[in-house]
Symmetry: D2
Subunit: 98 residues, 4 copies
């Protein structure tokens, strides 16, 4: 099952500068071979369900190992059985109607 995800990892107890933790997550996701696109409030990810969620789990492990005692993450995830759709398809589909 293919899934398109929007991931936003928020480490707590490490002050207000979160970018080193987000950068570490980006590394985890790309090293997992997933298609990723960083935006201003999260990261779009596309891939097989199990690979995507294994990588998200690894993000939590890595961010804890970096010293964050607590993490609150928000994930949006979309699956569809009617047709294949990539992250680019989704953006183009909206832009075509604008």
């Amino acid at each position: 099952m293919n899934v398109i995800v929007d991931l936003c990892v928020v480490p707590l107890g490490v002050g207000v500068s979160l970018s080193p933790y987000i950068a570490a997550c980006e590394k985890v996701l790309t090293e997992a071979g997933l298609k990723v696109a960083l935006h201003a409030y999260g990261t779009n990810i596309e891939g097989e369900w199990d690979a995507v969620f294994a990588a998200i789990k690894r993000c939590h492990e890595v961010v804890h190992e970096m010293g964050a005692p607590r993490i609150s993450t928000t994930v949006k995830l979309g699956t569809r059985t009617d047709r294949a759709q990539s992250m680019e398809d989704k953006v183009k589909s909206v832009q075509a109607k604008m």
Copy 2:
């Protein structure tokens, strides 16, 4: 790694009445032996990471099998390494300060 999750599964392409799909997800989660608490905009879940995410995957499979061609789900998930905390602890901790 223990995780507390807030899960909100939104089936698309099946009209506006979503409760049969949500009820099916509740069944999946409880049959997986997870601790769950339904609220007005989602379901709190507590359990081991792998068990929780296997159940969430199963929810998507079941909702697709019920006829939903598309699903958009929102998940919040919290982990912490500083101390154990249950769903009840979280609520009590806030209520104690009110």
Copy 3:
């Protein structure tokens, strides 16, 4: 326009104990006369759109005044024009199918 909201306010830069901030938000919401129900990963709110979002803005102001330099909040919000539906209706509707 009536709205049912799930609100999760996450103050950053204040350590890992967030309950005093969440309790302050509960106070803001109830003093605004909104119907609220706290759960383990947020708060359900029901009310008129403008009243609900004025209260959410007030939550951010209050949490900043309490000393949090940064806040990352997640909100789910549902509106419908086909029929009236309360928070209790939503829960009962699912439970009736379980």
Copy 4:
């Protein structure tokens, strides 16, 4: 109070093709003079709190007017008092650490 938002509007009861509704929301947001950036699972928005939330309300009104009887929207919203930060700053801040 400046806010950075990630908005994801999901119309229900209109089938599986949501792009016309999302395109209409993009129009609302840009006509409101807000800075917006569409991605594969939502739209980043930057602006003054009141202007941003007035536009989000207008999105719900427009999507209902287009025929959607029900809408479930997810919003992430960040405010900070320690320093000004734009959407571009947030992305660059992560990329600088990668």
